[in-house]
Amino acid sequence: MSTRQLDTSPITKSIVVDCGVERAFDVYANRMTEWWPLRTHSIHGPEAERVVMEGRDGGELYELSAGGQKAHWATITAWQPPHRLVLAWKVNPDAPAESEVEVRFTAEAENRTRVDVEHRDWQLLGEERGAEARSSYDEGWGPVLELYRAAAGA
């Protein structure tokens, strides 16, 4: 089940999207419902309806079910459009601590933006649990960011 080596180092993922930095940030932060795989990657599953990002420091990122139930994902700790976004990530209320997600947007050309995602602080969850969570997110971020790339470039 778990590997012998407990890796709690940051996960880093970089992708390039075919749009300007303003749009890259806007699609990522304000239009998550359009690309996040809610049906599979949410707390309400098939009943999850949308993702809400309150765009300000201290704002909340959460999902809303069709029945209007709210489920917390993260607290926004840095809201710096269109360059940077930092989240205190805690989808599972039982998790002993938050992990941190930082997303940076760097313009490479008029219609080309590099997006770097770093998900870190796994050690705060405890060595074993942190390593397990890290491995799960390491697998998960790739496909999720591919969906974002498609939405941003559309």
Partner: protein, 105 residues
């Protein structure tokens, strides 16, 4: 392991074209052949391969034999792909399965 046979079968572009033409419902061999640059016997042969792979099924309708997508086979294929799709779900899943998630606190 049906998904493996299904994926092998779909590795052929002509079979993919036939597969996509069945999306909207059952068709006869002749109809499919009429839309593709492939002979009727060739379409028949491809359909046999796809049938063995669990992608399509057939039934008689009067004098005609109609082919349609096989929901069971597609479900297996979907299930296989979903195992990748759900990667990274652990955290959401744990939160969703908490005993008090849907009730009041």
């Amino acid at each position: 392991m049906t998904y493996a046979a299904a994926m092998d079968a779909l590795g052929d572009p002509t079979r993919r074209a036939i597969f996509e033409r069945l999306k909207d419902g059952a068709r006869a061999v002749g109809e499919i052949a009429g839309e593709l640059p492939v002979s009727r016997p060739a379409v028949s042969q491809h359909l046999q391969v796809m049938k063995r792979a669990g992608l399509v099924r057939d039934h008689r309708a009067g004098t005609r034999r109609l082919y349609e997508l096989d929901p069971q086979g597609l479900e297996q294929l979907r299930g296989y792909l979903e195992t990748f799709w759900q990667a990274g779900l652990a955290d959401f899943k744990a939160a969703a399965e908490r005993p008090d998630e849907r009730g009041t606190r």
